[in-house]
Symmetry: C2
Subunit: 332 residues, 2 copies
């Protein structure tokens, strides 16, 4: 048991390698979409660069999160799998884990605050996830999850601070640089840091000339401040419409980001909404506010990438279509 | 001059051939996008068929209309081109002709009712079209266009009842059946009939086992009634949210449809809005109401295509994002 325990510790503390990410790509291939890369002549003109958009809004469950969750579920032993998986989340990771579990025919137990939005509950339920409601506090979420694990023996799949999850998210970059080589910069939204961590590991080895730029909402800028301070400074009261980016870095994602990420920039809320709307209007695709954050950095000229080949990960497309973040004109 | 005149007559009255459409594809290739075909597991499950969506919402100007307008502009002699092109339209054809003209470096004169929506005027202006306002009646539009032509010698490019335009629209089907062979059915929205005419000519020769199903809003069902009556019955007061489908068939498009189209079905307004919303939500792409019309026919079970391979042309994605056809929940 102690050997088993120490192996778990090493796995959960160590960053995945490029080899892990390549294995993840092989494993998830039958289940996840290889998402398309789109371009837009009008956005290129507007920004003055060659932009390439990796469309994870077209991924299963509408977000890149399916890759990491799927990989984590597929790496379980049969014995572990039989006891199911669990997490606390009300966002895309919850839906992703539910679908990933269904794919393997096992149970997903999702702890969710009882005030979670109707559409988010519906998404998890649709993919067959079993929802356990808790009070809307972090303490209640963690206590409820601990109880679920104790009762069921389910394996907790953390949304980002997990080697297997990071390896899964890294497959976005693997596909991206395969399809679009020689990117000068690659822009990625930063929440808990799973996506940018996986991206950074791939790019460091396979495309070292590509600069990685993380982008955060100014109202949830823990990665920006943590990187500057050299230690993790979690954001206790994130305020941003980009609901996928309200989480703070974990120790594992922070360590990877510190080593590999060139720069984190922050953007304001108005720019996020403007960027989201611009992508809807010009590219005819639906992206969620979190996915618009890197585009907002370009619109706000937070980075000067003039003439560059710039990759942008559009991380997801889950939006409540009944609550758009811009006003509707009166009818008629 | 009389020989020239009679050649024009034959060209405008005769349907294009498959060869014409192949030539159109060659001609427009440097300018138009080859649009992707998307699929959706959740829509497949919902409808019980294998659906393939040809995404003309990703075409230049956001609609298939660019293909026909571009082809028409490219077939002009240098002498004709020097005098420019003209049309009366307030929809996607206007924007398409403006961009097509700019592509060749010539002038596009667009007659538009003075009450046309701001976004539509803006689209034409953005692509460099020259707008001439008229009264919001068909008589005024036609008189103003005639005047423009008399003054400038510009070539009129009709939005659909034109051999060159139909040949351009036919390139959608050419790409579609190349990428997705052995379709059992192919569903196309019907307005003036340019898209379905071009589609029908391609399918009749290259994929004769594929059934072509035209879909119209019940509030603009002239093709349905015309096909049943065996003669053109224009719709004088179309009432539908699908603004791209308010036009009535021309003599040329009617003749082609009569010969080649298996069936026209009609759908209600509520189903159109529901279908549009469903595609936004599930596929994360923005389509306009006109493009949702074939999907509405599937939702309403107007056609039984269970288990079939069904192609659907998503004709465009130009929507005023400030005036969505469903209510927004109050904030908070």
């Amino acid at each position: 048991m102690s050997i088993h325990g120490s192996r778990i510790l090493i796995i959960s503390m160590d960053a995945p390698t490029l080899r892990d990410i390549r294995q993840a790509a092989e494993r998830i291939r039958p289940y996840a979409h290889r998402t398309p890369v789109l371009t837009s002549a009008s956005l290129n003109r507007m920004i003055g660069a060659h932009l390439f958009f990796k469309c994870e809004n077209f991924q299963k469950v509408g977000a890149f999160k399916f890759r990491g969750a799927c990989h984590a579920v597929l790496t379980l032993s049969d014995e572990e799998a039989a006891r199911g998986v669990a997490t606390h989340s009300s966002g895309n990771h919850a839906a992703a884990l539910a679908l990933a579990a269904r794919t393997r025919g096992i149970r997903a137990l999702i702890v969710m605050p009882k005030d979670a939005a109707r559409v988010k509950r519906a998404a998890v339920a649709e993919y067959g996830g079993h929802i356990i409601f808790c009070e809307p506090t972090l303490a209640s979420r963690e206590a409820t999850l601990a109880e679920v694990v104790k009762e069921t023996g389910a394996t907790v799949v953390h949304p980002y601070n997990d080697r297997r999850v990071i390896a899964g998210q890294g497959t976005v970059a693997l596909e991206f640089i395969q399809e679009v080589p020689h990117l000068d910069s690659l822009m990625v939204p930063v929440g808990g840091g799973g996506l940018i961590s996986g991206t950074a590991i791939v790019v460091a080895e396979l495309s070292p000339g590509t600069r990685i730029i993380g982008v955060e909402p100014a109202g949830a800028d823990d990665a920006f401040r943590s990187l500057r301070a050299g230690r993790r400074i979690p954001c206790h009261q994130p305020r941003t419409i980009a609901d996928g980016l309200r989480a703070s870095l974990g120790d594992l994602t922070f360590a990877i980001i510190k080593e590999h990420v060139d720069r984190i920039v922050t953007v304001g809320e108005e720019a996020i909404v403007a960027a989201m709307r611009l992508v809807w209007e010009r590219m005819k695709i639906i992206i969620e506010p979190s996915a618009a954050v890197p585009v907002a950095a370009l619109l706000e000229r937070k980075v000067d990438l003039a003439g560059q080949r710039v990759g942008i990960v559009l991380s997801g497309g889950n939006v409540d279509l009944d609550r758009l973040p811009w006003p509707q004109a009166p009818c008629g």
